[in-house]
């Protein structure tokens, strides 16, 4: 945590966006829009970036923290190179998504929302992706893996590791 560093690290266009929002009515209502933009750019919301948004928008940092932790969409840690998202929607769940999730947790040694030490994988959950016919479904970045079973998880990870080299 670097609280003393007040130098601005946010990109210019995000600062421009904030300045534009500040001129509008109810500037604080644009907080989520701004956080979306920050996450889209940097992959996650760092404390430094949230502090900077707080100062620019004059929105209390605790409020921003509250919003960022409330919505599952926002990530507070850097995402791995391969973001594994396990669908925990109803159809996937009844077809064993929870066991798949457990398998990933055991194989990677991380919990939901965490990233492996090497920065390669992170685990996320998602609600229904709308492809229930293919349940249980896992996405890795933009690739969809369907009809997966817990047994296949180690092979899937090895395949990704191999392709990554």
């Amino acid at each position: 945590m670097n609280k003393t560093d007040q130098s601005v690290t946010l990109d210019r266009d995000i600062i421009d966006l904030m300045e534009e929002c500040r001129l509008r009515e109810y500037p604080e209502s644009y907080l989520i829009t701004i956080l979306h933009r920050v996450q889209a750019r940097y992959g996650y919301l760092s404390e430094q970036h949230m502090d900077e948004v707080a100062q620019y928008m004059q929105i209390p940092t605790a409020t921003i923290s509250g919003v960022a932790t409330f919505y599952h969409y926002f990530r507070l840690r850097p995402r791995g190179k391969y973001a594994i998202s396990i669908c925990l929607g109803t159809a996937c769940f009844v077809k064993g998504a929870d066991k798949i999730l457990e398998a990933f947790k055991t194989e990677l040694g991380i919990d939901m929302g965490e990233t492996t030490q090497d920065g390669l994988f992170s685990l996320e959950n998602s609600r229904c992706l709308g492809v229930c016919a293919l349940a249980p479904v896992v996405t890795v970045n933009d690739r969809v893996y369907s009809n997966l079973s817990a047994k296949q998880v180690p092979d899937l990870l090895n395949k990704i590791r191999f392709e990554d080299q």
Partner: protein, 584 residues
């Protein structure tokens, strides 16, 4: 004004449409059970304990958050509502540690009282418990999320009254907890340590850092000279801890109780206040003459000072450099007094009894240590902690004979007593500064313009051919309003008194929890405590700080004159900008 006609529990009444069902019911003497509600804070509607039945509505409505409407037929009581309320309370306590007997708030807990009143006699629900560690990084305020019932009173007081916005609810659902931004430890947050979160918390999710163990230890050590000093606001509030009505003056009994506890010497923080007045009045007169760094901002409230450092560092040059009465008294005890009596200052253990939680933070500030690196104030106890110690020792405060403070640092003028209430520092400083500026003796010394316990007051005084603009603020949202006015040039002031807590120190974060019939931060309690201090002031023969004979003596023998190099070294301090920066 138009009124609406409603029926509550078979009684017809006409009330203002502005009222909530809860407020309308109070007019009939019906106190609907409640938990998250607080009259000075915004409506939350989080706990649902105050539900009532309204004809035509399928669901029960929260009476704190529902306005009355024409023709409403309301039932506050029925077997079904009582059952529903009891279920709600049971569900809250199901998720709450079962530690009542060992909890600091045992006997003062709103949840405990509510559970009793609702008739909860057994635990019916066995659910998953949330488990969190106690967060005790701050020298002043401790956070125990495990006890939190998510009523959000702390979040509201911190933002709505204090303007700090340090706390927020983080995460969601079962994982929801109240914490500073990024779930940072309290000592790495913008927390100003005022302790109002402790006051408004219905349970014990916030507490002051306990310091009684260190005091018991020093009291039983024959080698140590244990000195107590008592802040002005204590004497007006301590009785409440012993079932006395608010505003009972208990100065002499408190002194006796401290002696019985084993304190070797009992000094009065008031002496420090008198000294602060003389130094600050001198500082004020000099700044007026040189026309610089105005308005002068008072500096006795450590919560306000921490706020200044986080939120308004640009105003640091305006702050009075005078130490607070507590730190001044501790300093002169370990220098002047020790020298005079030939005592090794290392053997002195200074215990300050304060209405304040932020004083615990102030005592640990690096600026308040002697040349040897030892703190001038060793321990700060809140009023609540002293009440507990007195009870633990088996002393009945109400029946004690009245004792006297020890001299020379136990004698004070009426000006010092005023420090415990909002506007009091201002009035005390004016009594001395006006005489200095005019060179004449004041005959009328009651500055009515700055009395009362409202959040913001302004006044103008004609002094020595010029108009002095003064202002008083308590509660830091009010401080923000004044400082923003100064910044924008909208207003000019010469002197501003700022206190972090509502009503000043009488409403401090370390004061007794409210007695039955009152709520936390009740203006009626604050007024009664403040009136007690005004009464003490009015009853004293000397009421101007500079007329205190022991103050005259300490200048003659030790300090030289106000603003002298010795004064500056010992009685003045410095401030510095703090991270994280607050959001104004």
């Amino acid at each position: 004004m138009t009124q609406v006609h409603i029926r509550i529990d078979d009684t017809d009444l006409a009330v203002s449409p502005q009222l909530t069902i809860m407020e309308a019911a109070e007019q009939l003497g019906i106190q609907i059970p409640r938990l998250c509600y607080h009259p000075d804070l915004s409506i939350e509607g989080a706990c649902r304990v105050c539900i009532v039945e309204v004809e035509g509505y399928k669901n029960y409505l929260p009476s704190c958050a529902t306005r009355v409407q024409e023709g409403m037929v309301i039932r506050t009581n029925s077997p079904e509502i009582r059952q529903a309320r009891r279920d709600l309370v049971e569900l809250i306590i199901d998720n709450h540690p079962r530690e009542c007997q060992t909890c600091e708030r045992d006997g003062n807990c709103e949840l405990q009282n509510l559970a009793y009143a609702m008739g909860v006699r057994e635990r019916l629900f066995e659910g998953r418990r949330k488990l969190y560690k106690v967060e005790s990084s701050s020298p002043a305020v401790i956070r125990d999320a495990e006890k939190c019932i998510l009523c959000r009173r702390c979040v509201r007081v911190c933002s709505e009254i204090q303007g700090i916005h340090n706390l927020s609810q983080l995460y969601r659902g079962f994982d929801t907890r109240v914490a500073p931004a990024h779930e940072a430890p309290m000592n790495e947050s913008v927390c100003i340590a005022c302790g109002q979160c402790i006051n408004v918390c219905p349970v014990a999710a916030f507490l002051e850092r306990p310091s009684t163990d260190a005091v018991w230890r020093s009291l039983s050590d024959p080698e140590t000279l244990v000195i107590a000093q008592v802040a002005p606001a204590i004497r007006a509030a301590i009785g409440e801890g012993f079932n006395l009505p608010p505003g009972q003056i208990m100065t002499g009994q408190t002194v006796t109780a401290l002696r019985r506890l084993g304190f070797d010497i009992v000094f009065d923080t008031n002496f420090g206040a008198d000294l602060t007045v003389v130094e600050e009045a001198h500082e004020f007169a000099r700044r007026l003459k040189e026309n610089r760094d105005l308005p002068l901002l008072t500096s006795c409230s450590p919560g306000w000072i921490k706020f200044l450092e986080h939120f308004y560092p640009e105003f640091i040059p305006n702050a009075s450099t005078c130490k607070s009465p507590m730190s001044i008294l501790s300093t002169v005890s370990k220098t002047y007094y020790a020298q005079q009596r030939g005592i090794d200052p290392k053997k002195i253990f200074m215990v300050a009894i304060m209405p304040c939680v932020a004083k615990k933070f102030e005592a640990e500030r690096g600026e308040h240590v002697s040349e040897t690196g030892a703190p001038y104030t060793d321990v700060v106890l809140t009023t609540r902690e002293l009440i507990w110690m007195i009870k633990a020792y088996g002393i009945d405060l109400t029946h004690l004979p009245e004792g006297e403070f020890d001299h020379p640092l136990g004698f004070s003028t009426g000006a010092a007593d005023l420090f415990g209430k909002t506007g009091g520092v201002m009035e005390a400083v004016l009594r001395t500064a006006v005489e200095q500026l005019t060179g004449q003796t004041l005959t009328s010394i009651d500055f009515q313009q700055v009395r009362d316990v409202e959040g913001i007051r302004e006044a103008q005084l004609e002094v020595a051919g010029r108009t002095l603009h003064v202002a008083v603020a308590n509660g830091l949202n009010n401080a923000k309003l004044l400082l923003e006015k100064v910044k924008s040039g909208e207003a000019h002031y010469d002197l501003i008194e700022l206190m972090a807590c509502p009503g000043g120190c009488v409403g401090g974060g370390g004061q007794p929890y409210p007695p039955p019939g009152y709520h936390v931060l009740d203006k009626e309690i604050l007024k009664k405590r403040a009136q007690a201090l005004l009464d003490i002031d009015a009853g004293k023969p000397l009421r101007k700080a500079h007329e205190n004979p022991y103050i005259i003596e300490i200048y003659k023998e030790f300090l030289g004159e106000p603003g002298s190099p010795v004064s500056h070294k010992l009685l003045h301090t410095t401030y510095h900008p703090r991270e994280p920066r607050g959001i104004k």
